[in-house]
Symmetry: C2
Subunit: 505 residues, 2 copies
Amino acid sequence: MKKILFLLYLPLSLYGQIPPVEAIRQWVKDNGAHILQEFIPLLKIPNHASDLPNIKKNADLLQQLFTSRGFKMQLLERLDAPPIVYGEYKVPGATRTWCFYVHYDGQPVDVSRWQHDPFEPVLYDGPMDKGGKQIPFPQAGEAIEDEWRIYARSSSDDKAPIMALIGAVDALKQAGLSYTSNIKLFFDGEEESGSPNVQAYLQNHPHLFEDIDVWLICDGSVFQTGAPQFKFGGRGITSMELTVYGATRPLHSGHYGNWAPVPGQMLARLLTSMKDENGKVLIEGFYDSVEPISAIERDQINKVPPVEAQLKKELGLVVTEGEGQRLNQRLLLPSLTVRGLSSGNVGAKSRNIIPNTATATLGMRLVKGNDPEKMLDLVEAHIKKEGWHIVYEEPDMVIRLQHPKIVKVTRSATGLKAAKTSMDHNKVKPIIETMREFTNDKMVLLPSSGASNRVYYVIFEVLKKPGIGVNIVNHDNNQHAANENLRLGNLWYGVELMAVLLTMD
Amino acid sequence: MKKILFLLYLPLSLYGQIPPVEAIRQWVKDNGAHILQEFIPLLKIPNHASDLPNIKKNADLLQQLFTSRGFKMQLLERLDAPPIVYGEYKVPGATRTWCFYVHYDGQPVDVSRWQHDPFEPVLYDGPMDKGGKQIPFPQAGEAIEDEWRIYARSSSDDKAPIMALIGAVDALKQAGLSYTSNIKLFFDGEEESGSPNVQAYLQNHPHLFEDIDVWLICDGSVFQTGAPQFKFGGRGITSMELTVYGATRPLHSGHYGNWAPVPGQMLARLLTSMKDENGKVLIEGFYDSVEPISAIERDQINKVPPVEAQLKKELGLVVTEGEGQRLNQRLLLPSLTVRGLSSGNVGAKSRNIIPNTATATLGMRLVKGNDPEKMLDLVEAHIKKEGWHIVYEEPDMVIRLQHPKIVKVTRSATGLKAAKTSMDHNKVKPIIETMREFTNDKMVLLPSSGASNRVYYVIFEVLKKPGIGVNIVNHDNNQHAANENLRLGNLWYGVELMAVLLTMD
């Protein structure tokens, strides 16, 4: 989903004052045009996870790009699934191993909505929707502006971190700087399809992954204001559908109106019992399992630049749930959302009937401590407390004639727990401190994204490994939509960031 | 809509003890087969109001059937509309004039759901869905059973009363009995399309209608138990659609869930504020304009055989709105029904979003005293009292940023007031008394049907003429659906009833 925003791009690459940033910055000036030329062929290969022949071409090119730079590469394969592009670079004497997670697949494209072919990268001198003009890709030695943008599918999400890593590798080589950690690469080919095989890949090749100390999960954009951003987790997710029953069939609203039960009215009452007007969920125990956030997490949340007033203005809102509280505070709590409602018909198709059912789909986002199944249990307990009889399939006449209020509950099959790495983790803290120095303490550290991510979950919660979400691309990159793009200033920021990571003490 | 029921057919035609019932009964025995033979050609002509060539054929045949019986017939016409088949029979010395309203158009047919061609009448020896078998139509002199049924579109709704009238006319002629009232006929050709021209027809030919003392509106079925039934009005109707607004676009439930307003939740709260759990509408003044019913009406309501327990069993209900109160009492109050709900998607199409709108369509049935526009005003006043800002078109950004809770109200363009003739009306009371005698006081008198009927409204409330809804057909006639049918016992009951009306003092 496209993020909206108000641009306030700070020159990210000027924050850093620590070596090897100066050397990298000069290398980028001299070699930026070359990096773009190497990026173009990678962007030209279509990359939807279901397009296995093209996915294989992407994987082959990625292997080639890193093999030529001294990485030992291989493809991990499963039948009928995109391969993992796996790589290693061993550093003599290194005492730690980091793994860079990136995904090389992209969202499907609706070509009719793109200004250009999504797999024919073009360069613009600014955002296309703000008057930017198409320009030729620069030749070696020509100056490159930070505000230029490459338009192509996956230019940001998520091939940009791969190119940033390649730039860092090349720049460090020219500067004669060595890596300070062993490096592993894990390039996922089906993240946009939910990474259904990532857990099997990791668990089927334990010897490749057991020595990894920290995962650097490179996906997602910097903060809305343009400030650097790092994330330490994602919310869990589950859902539940409720169908309430009136009579066995739709009834004539004249012959039965004011006598027959009205399912839409009954459902409204049930939903109203679940949440107060300020957005507080009234289901008993709903917030009880939430793990408290740490002092450092609270501290970081308080440092997040305020975006609420601007967001409300852009979204046409006067009040929000939990009005007055910060967005990122609210994302540290589980949510309960009516994501769908249906009964009879509205608009031109509406008829003079009393519908026989009404259905609501409830979405929940979960935080650390919340178990998806137990959270659904709490909702069911609430429903019972409100006097409802719960069934799990269509009620038959025997059931109907025993219970005045019947609701069918359908629980999600794909619940996911929240995932989080503690900012206090001893293998993570040094990275945070280096990034604080690199960004001149202007970075945003989010204890958790609001969204849900299976990769975070598998790494943090199944493998029990720490990780950091490393975000480099511009937030207004149109990811998942038409005219996806990458601001070049963010690519150079990524090159510097990767170089700092590869060489930090 | 098909009515459900439990059959308890009393031999309707045995109630009557008054002349000329005995004569008519004998005539039916001798001539029943002939009446059915005359019915068949009328049932063979398709009769949807939009099929003007066939509608004209129906009208022509009706003219011919009554012209040959001494009525002075004419077609009242409007361009592109079905004609009214109008007729007169003047009786020397008669001091009153009655008009029989019947409609000769029918509901559209879905042939695929019919057992036989809906316009090729067939005879069964019992209900098709309860093991009845097809039999040949009887020849003159053969015995005819009351439980036999004719299957054809409009066999009940509403060509049956026309045939009953023809039978009565023929039987009275053979018995040498004269009519005691001047008779007029008004056969509507578009009732199933809402009778959009009936008011214009009546008002454009005032000289034809001004001398009518009582309208006998022959449409609808006898009571669910099979008891004779007469109706004195219908409820009014109106509706209103409500759309509530969240953000300007659907939002990612991860990035914004627990912060962004949830329209489905807001709408549920609004709907819940309108009605209590027992079905009582909480909108201020909702019941204030209801005109009290008269003593005779209350008396008749109390006499209606109890059907609630059986209805609940058939519909799978343990409790109803106003649990414990009688269905026909509840129909004497205005109703407020959620007839449609929509927000985002449910089921397989449901996505992890916070929808940007939620919509409910409310249906209202009205009783005497309720003005449709004023009732909608009360709903709007309630919505405002609940803190909502009402708009009548999509809110723009200026509006959105001024009001925390915005609802768009769309009011019905086709509100209709309730219509009722008092059972105390001095021109109606003698008819009630005769019917009481004819039915041996076993009849059901309903002050109002729950349904809404433009014809009742135009006659009772615009022309200010009294009328009675005269119901003769079986309630389980599948009207409006496939396999519509007429129980022959009900046709003979209709013949007797018409004969009694035509000859009463």
